[in-house]
């Protein structure tokens, strides 16, 4: 009788193994998972309702804050829908800048994912390496937009900042470094036995199931589904750029790792082309405050998959309805399927492999000097060198190690 007994254990909403609030109720028989119930909504902030009560201009900034990782995804997806309703002809240069920022965002998101995946399988060296390298792209984004996350580059009718020649040189330099590192990670992922053995056959999702459950993004592409919004439903400047849609037939976490790493190489290809082909000209057109009545649906290939925004306008300054469907919501259902009859120990990496979204942000530190009573603002570069110096004083010096690492 005892063998038939199933145990139900709750994991979350707050749990050391989870990076963001979500709740799983797992039915176990021994170490094997027999069923999973997922409860989401702990991050629901009522943004769709809030959008209806604000102007379109305010909504661009509100929507950008849906996610701390793919903020550009959401703001671009939203402005595209509004521009379609208003019939605005967005200048080409603006579309190219949106594409460049979008791809840089994908690069930092995939690097972030690689680190999380490394951490979840106990390969923390990979986490340290990939997150160190991610700083290169974060610095590029900060240089181009002024922010590491929530770039604020989009406005209705175009973008807010241009890219100059000096910046283009810097971006190209950074891309060279990142490409070199990505090649190294592809070698690690495809040759390192521990990674291959740990990830192969884990979180299986067949092509048929991926289609049936409506999986999107790298999760679907690693199950052999050749679907990428950038190619099928091109937006921004993608129709004029050449790139390959990466697919894989492993249908497991290993396949998802390979797809993301190879996608990085395509992102570099896109950024290089876009920087070269970017035409001269204005970066925005004037948008009316009142958007004529209408509706539009906009899609965007986020780092995690298809992002969908539906906007309905009523001729006023405020939208009638804004509907957002982020890619994780489309993928979460596949997790239930992937976990069935698998071991509990696989759960963290299987959940991480769909790359559920969590936010991060840290920017400027404001200091109140207790002696002089003055308020000082410490910017990112200053904060960085201050922390390096502080650690040096404590006897912790990374200079030698950094040199050694950069020669790898």
């Amino acid at each position: 009788m005892r063998e038939n007994k199933k145990f139900r254990i709750p994991i979350g909403p707050q749990h050391p193994a989870l990076k963001e609030p979500e709740s799983f109720s797992v039915a176990l028989k021994g170490e094997k998972i027999k069923g999973v119930d997922v409860r989401l909504g702990y991050n629901h902030r009522g943004i769709e309702k809030a959008c209806e009560q604000r102007t379109y201009v305010q909504d661009v900034y509100l929507i950008e804050r849906i996610c701390g990782i793919c903020s550009h995804t959401h703001s671009t997806c939203f402005v595209q829908a509004v521009e379609e309703i208003a019939g605005l002809a967005v200048p080409k240069r603006a579309l190219y800048i949106r594409t460049i920022i979008g791809e840089l965002e994908r690069v930092h998101s995939h690097y972030l994912w690689l680190g999380v995946a490394g951490h979840e399988i106990g390969f923390d060296t990979l986490l340290m390496y990939s997150w160190r390298d991610r700083e290169v792209v974060m610095d590029v984004l900060a240089m181009l937009t002024g922010n590491r996350v929530n770039y604020g580059i989009n406005c209705i009718g175009g973008v807010r900042r241009d890219i100059d020649e000096a910046q283009i040189t810097e971006v190209l330099k950074a891309i060279d470094i990142l490409e070199e590192r990505t090649k190294y990670y592809i070698d690690v992922a495809t040759q390192e036995t521990t990674i291959i053995k740990r990830l192969s056959g884990v979180g299986m999702l067949t092509r048929e199931e991926a289609l049936r459950l409506g999986a999107v993004g790298p999760t679907a592409r690693a199950s052999g589904i050749d679907y990428d919004i950038r190619q099928k439903d091109p937006y921004a400047a993608y129709a004029e750029l050449e790139f390959d849609v990466i697919t894989d037939n492993h249908c497991d976490v290993y396949g998802r790792t390979v797809v993301r790493l190879k996608e990085l190489m395509q992102s570099y290809r896109i950024i290089r082309q876009a920087l070269k082909k970017m035409p001269q000209g204005p970066i925005s057109v004037r948008a009316p405050r009142k958007i004529p009545a209408g509706e539009a649906i906009s899609r965007y290939e986020a780092p995690r998959g298809e992002d969908v925004h539906y906007v309905k306008s009523n001729g006023t300054e405020q939208p009638e309805r804004v509907k957002v469907r982020a890619p994780t919501l489309a993928n979460i259902r596949t997790v239930k399927y992937m976990l069935r009859d698998r071991y509990l120990a696989d759960m963290p990496i299987v959940i991480a492999a769909i790359d559920p979204c969590f936010s991060c942000t840290d920017r400027v530190v404001a200091l109140n000097n207790s002696l002089t009573k003055k308020r000082e603002v410490m910017e990112w570069q200053k904060l960085r060198s201050y922390s390096i110096e502080w650690y040096k004083k404590q006897g912790i010096d990374f200079t030698k190690l950094n040199k050694k690492l950069s020669s790898i």
Partner: protein, 158 residues
């Protein structure tokens, strides 16, 4: 636009009541307004014969006199079809589409929580996305629902 126009013509020839209700808004975007009674006929045709096998999402609207529900479907070349139906406010009951798209469950739960549409019938499961202690007669996305000002927090140390 050829493919989009072809889909439009095929829909009208197959379902004459859709005449004037199918609009090609731009390349890769088709909007259909269907009656609730005919919805599944058109829906099944799109899935089985026109290749619209991916459900992007479901949007719920409060349009004053009635609720609007839009099903956004896409196919492999990137065309998106948006089928809209109206649901009366007196009897806000909607048939589930989970037999066609199991992933639709979470979108339908969202309609229930945020607009108060009843879904006929979803398997038992937890609500989404509102908290468990959210009042059962308050639906935030309805136009007559206004957010309340949060009470100022009491300073317990004072």
């Amino acid at each position: 636009m050829d493919t989009e126009n072809k889909i439009q013509q095929e829909l009208i020839s197959k379902f004459p009541y859709l005449d004037g209700k199918v609009k090609v808004q731009r390349v890769r975007r088709i909007f259909i307004e269907a009656e609730e009674a005919n919805f599944f006929e058109v829906f099944e045709y799109l899935i089985n014969s026109a290749g619209f096998v991916h459900l992007c999402t479901i949007t719920g609207l409060d349009e004053g006199a009635a609720f609007g529900v839009i099903y956004h479907l896409s196919e492999k070349t990137g065309i998106v079809v948006n089928i809209k139906i109206s649901i009366s406010k007196e009897k806000p009951v909607l048939k589930t589409i989970t037999p066609y798209f199991p992933g639709a469950e979470i979108y339908e739960r969202e309609l229930t929580d945020l607009l108060g549409l009843e879904i006929d019938t979803l398997p038992p499961g937890s609500r989404y996305p509102l908290p468990d202690d959210w009042p059962h007669d308050e639906f935030p996305l309805r136009k007559d629902w206004k957010p309340k000002e949060p009470k100022p927090e009491e300073n317990k140390n004072a």
